[in-house]
Amino acid sequence: MNGRTTNISEALMGAQGYINSLPAGDGLWLAEQRRAAIDRLFDLGLPQSRQEAWRYSDVQGLLEQGFVTSDEAGEVAGDEVRAHLLKEPVAARLVFVDGLFQAALSEINAQGVSISSLRGAMAKADKTALEALGSLSGAGRHGFAALNLATMQDGAVIRVEAGNKLGQPIELLHLASRNAAGRSLRPRHLIILETDAEASLVERYLALDETSYFNNLVCEIVLQEGASLLHQRVQQESRQAYHLSDLYLGLAADSHYRGVNASLGGIWSRTNINNHFKASGAVCELDGLYLVDDEQLADYHLDIDHAVPGCESRENFKGILSGRGRAVFDGRILVRQQAQKSNAHLSNANLMLSRQAEIDTKPQLEILADDVQCSHGTTVGQLDPQALFYLRSRGLNEDQARRLLCMGFAQEILDRFETESLRETLSESIHARIEASNSNMI
């Protein structure tokens, strides 16, 4: 596909062209899925700001960029990659450059885990590995997700075998090279934890250069009965980049998903998290932290569906907004009529460091069952002048005091990143960001 995605017909033509260009090895069923996605894209069109779900994250600027797709990854030196890797030993590692899997930089042999790249699995038409592909996302909830399915290229396909409890994390590292400039990337991941499996997944999107590109990614995660996943996700794209991430979760009985998110980069970034409880006793925990400064938008849309009784969800998102930064938080929890004994708690707190920053926050609890425990809370506030005075009276200047308080605000979420080197580098990045926004302040 070499079409510009400035409008729907170009996107459709491009996607069609891409499918036609695929080798015959791309299994028939996959080609059908791709076509279904094109139909879906045709039905839905690309999101528009008059749609409620996209009202605050306008895609016009993104479409105007005219990003094109490419099947080439930029050349990246091994040392440049290694500088960004986790410092602790990992169970497996998948490195992607410009959305494409880099076998030479990766390590995919792990005991009791089947791992392949999406491209590899598609080339082999590996139906077993890809059976669940699209099972949670369907053809896509919006045009971009459909576009991802229609033109998916590469990603991670991971299956942790039943009962396997991984002591070390699986690392997915995405690097955007200089070569990503002007490109539309569309990674797609499929992660399955079989019955009673346990794993930790670190998924990061970093940029090696300050270029403008569009990362349009989809991740599907299936947790079978009793499985447990800690999913640590960091979006630190280039400040010029567009980042759209769709995460679909399917949680079977007694499974436990813990998602910890951080968004720091991008000129425009949006994360949609959709969780569907499939059976009782499952727990879904989501924590998130977003930082925005001038010319940045960060958007989190959560959609938690308590479709069955006796599940628990907890969401805690925090934002630090400075300059003319904008953020959107839309947390929807639906507790269906039959979903008795549900437990759902949603919280969103925003720290506004400037008067020009803007937050649109919307917690939505729709409770149709009567025997449930649910709560939600949203706060938007500034740094506490009493706390600032307290710190200054102990000798810290205003910048130092603000930084300590901002870090304190972020700490609750940072602490949930359990992989130490990740938590430390993230903490340093946040520290640097706050220092920068301090100096940006008059």
């Binding site: 506490d384 706390a387 009276s393 000798g395 700490q411």
Partner: protein, 250 residues
């Protein structure tokens, strides 16, 4: 060491301090007593540089330096320390990090070398032991979920670490039971030193049983209406403030 002359201050246009004169020498402990609303806490806050007060007249000098010209943190660098009546809770801010950054900010401003992590740890452990603060509290967020006594002891720990020239204790006894009060007072007494002046602001005489002042001043209606030795505090304990206010009015 501390010299306050004819200090007048307004809060939201209302005159709260109406001409305070006070001289405190190095090594001395002065108690500022007085009924509620007399301006005691205002005086403590103004000394530490809190916002929201308009100084309309007078001067404050610490070791010959004009405090009113300095920002809050600069006063801290010069050795002003205010132990707060209600220490602020700082969730997510580690107590140890806070203490270390404070100490190093002060040391840096004084042209001293910053302390490395190891030396700092050693220092803070020793000070925590001195003021009987449970070491576990050092690893927690500043004051978050601390009991009233723990918060006040944490203030005294900060004071012990920062080693101020002028220590101001604002209603340090409020909200403490007698045992906690004794521990806090022990900490304060340990920090008495010939190079340090202390101002103890309190409504009740009770605290002064444990921290014996050299001088006692009674503040009422924004003025110091009586100064004396520690026996003045005892008299106030026995007779309340009413007689004194009447005597001054007469």
């Amino acid at each position: 060491m501390l010299s306050i002359k004819n200090l007048k201050a307004n809060v939201e246009g209302k005159e709260i301090l109406k001409g305070i004169d006070l001289e405190v020498k190095a090594g001395e402990v002065h108690a500022i007593m007085g009924p509620n609303g007399s301006g005691k806490s205002t005086l403590a806050h103004i000394l530490s540089g809190r916002d929201g007060y308009e100084i309309t007249d007078g001067s404050i000098q610490l070791q010959g330096e004009d405090l009113l010209e300095l920002a809050t943190e600069e006063r801290a660098h010069k050795g002003v320390f205010l132990a707060m009546q209600y220490p602020v809770e700082l969730p997510g801010v580690n107590n140890m990090t806070f203490l270390r950054e404070s100490l190093n900010a002060v040391r840096k401003a004084r042209g001293q070398e910053e302390l490395d992590a190891v030396s700092f740890m050693k220092l803070v452990r020793e000070k925590a032991r001195q003021v009987q603060l449970d070491e576990k509290l050092l690893k927690r967020s500043v004051n978050a979920g601390f009991s009233g006594g723990e918060k006040k002891r944490n203030e005294i720990l900060q004071m012990a670490v920062l080693e101020p020239t002028l220590a101001i204790l604002d209603e340090t006894d409020s909200g403490l039971d007698i045992d906690a009060l004794r521990t806090v007072a022990d900490g304060v007494n340990m920090l008495r030193s010939p190079d340090r002046a202390m101002l103890v602001v309190t409504h009740y005489q009770r605290l002064l049983d444990y921290i014996q002042p050299d001088h006692v001043h009674v503040l009422a209606g924004g003025r110091i209406i009586r100064s004396g030795g520690k026996e003045l505090a005892l008299e106030l304990e026995e007779r309340g403030y009413g007689w004194l206010l009447e005597e001054v009015a007469a």
